[in-house]
Amino acid sequence: MTNPIRTIILGATALVAALLLGGCSAAPDVRYGDTNAHQNLSTDFGSSDLQQVAEGMVDSLLTFPPVIEVTKVRRPILSVTRVKNKTLQHIDTESITDSIRAKLIKSGKFQFIDRTTDQEANEEFAAQQESGLVDPRKAVPGGMQAGAEYLLTSNLSEIRQQGGRVTDVYYKFTMNLKNLKSGILEWSDEKEIRKIKTRGLIGG
């Protein structure tokens, strides 16, 4: 073997080895991702589905003519209940309602009652009223909180079908706005999402 050929072979071997070693580097590939990007990694209910559902529901509620009429003159007080998860997946449904509530508050059209922090509020009331540390003239009086006028309720359901290599999952998120005084459903809407996964011929 001549010298130039040996040099080329050695050089190519060194390059391949460097690439392989670089690829097997101990440092993991960690980077920030776009929180608003649409990612389809599986047919499971994901972050972009949550964002789509929240945005769709808020858009629908803000543009519903009777709601526009009511919110023209005042900010109605709402309470939101936890989503009834009728899917077979474990989904943090509270984050769906949290997103919807945050968007509605930021719209400037609604006010919300938050019952999830009542225990902490009661502890604070007790500290103000009973600990003797707070000036009674500056303590917040109890029994003055506002009550919700409307209740936001919601369901999330799925229909899953599988045939051969194809998995088809249909999600339906339904939300209702109930007038607590009259019991009338003032608004209702659905958001549908369909995700289809086709498995590769080899592997999963």
């Binding site: 608003n36 990007a37 649409h38 789509q52 858009d59 543009t63 919110t71 023209k72 930021k106």
Partner: protein, 139 residues
């Protein structure tokens, strides 16, 4: 007060050489004075030949739901095949600031061959007076 709603349209196609870029950007605004209607072909600037070949914007319009801005952009597919795209609306206030920046979601859009579809968006609050619609290929 009923505002006379006109579209101040300016549609730009920005270069989208990679999948992480925003493909088409369409803009509209709510104005109180009357604008001369600008033909859409003059409001469309095509810089991205690939995406521009496949889809076109044929109409943009704005309206108000109460004091909240609503936008509609009509897209048409110029190709016979199905396109997998993503879009999001961006809202701008009177001072030129983006309303609730970094909260708009990229939504999936399947545009079938030769299909015409109107995309609609609702501003997050009453501060928005202009919108932009961004469209890109699905990643």
């Amino acid at each position: 007060m009923r505002l006379s709603v006109r579209i101040m349209g300016l549609l730009l196609l920005v270069a989208a050489c990679g999948c992480g870029t925003s493909g088409i950007v369409g803009q509209g605004a709510l104005k109180q004075e009357q604008d001369a209607e600008i033909p859409i072909y003059k409001r469309v600037v095509v810089n991205n030949t690939s995406l521009g070949r496949d889809i076109g914007v044929i109409d943009t319009r704005v309206a108000q739901a109460g004091d909240i801005l609503q936008a509609g952009v009509t897209l048409e597919s110029k190709t016979g095949s199905t396109l997998a795209l993503q879009y999001k609306f961006v809202w701008i206030d009177a001072k030129g600031f983006e309303v609730n920046p970094d909260t708009g979601t990229w939504k999936p859009l399947t545009l079938y061959g030769r299909e015409t579809r109107q995309l609609q968006g609702v501003a997050p609050n009453a501060a928005a007076i202009e919108f932009m619609l961004k469209i890109r290929r699905d990643q």
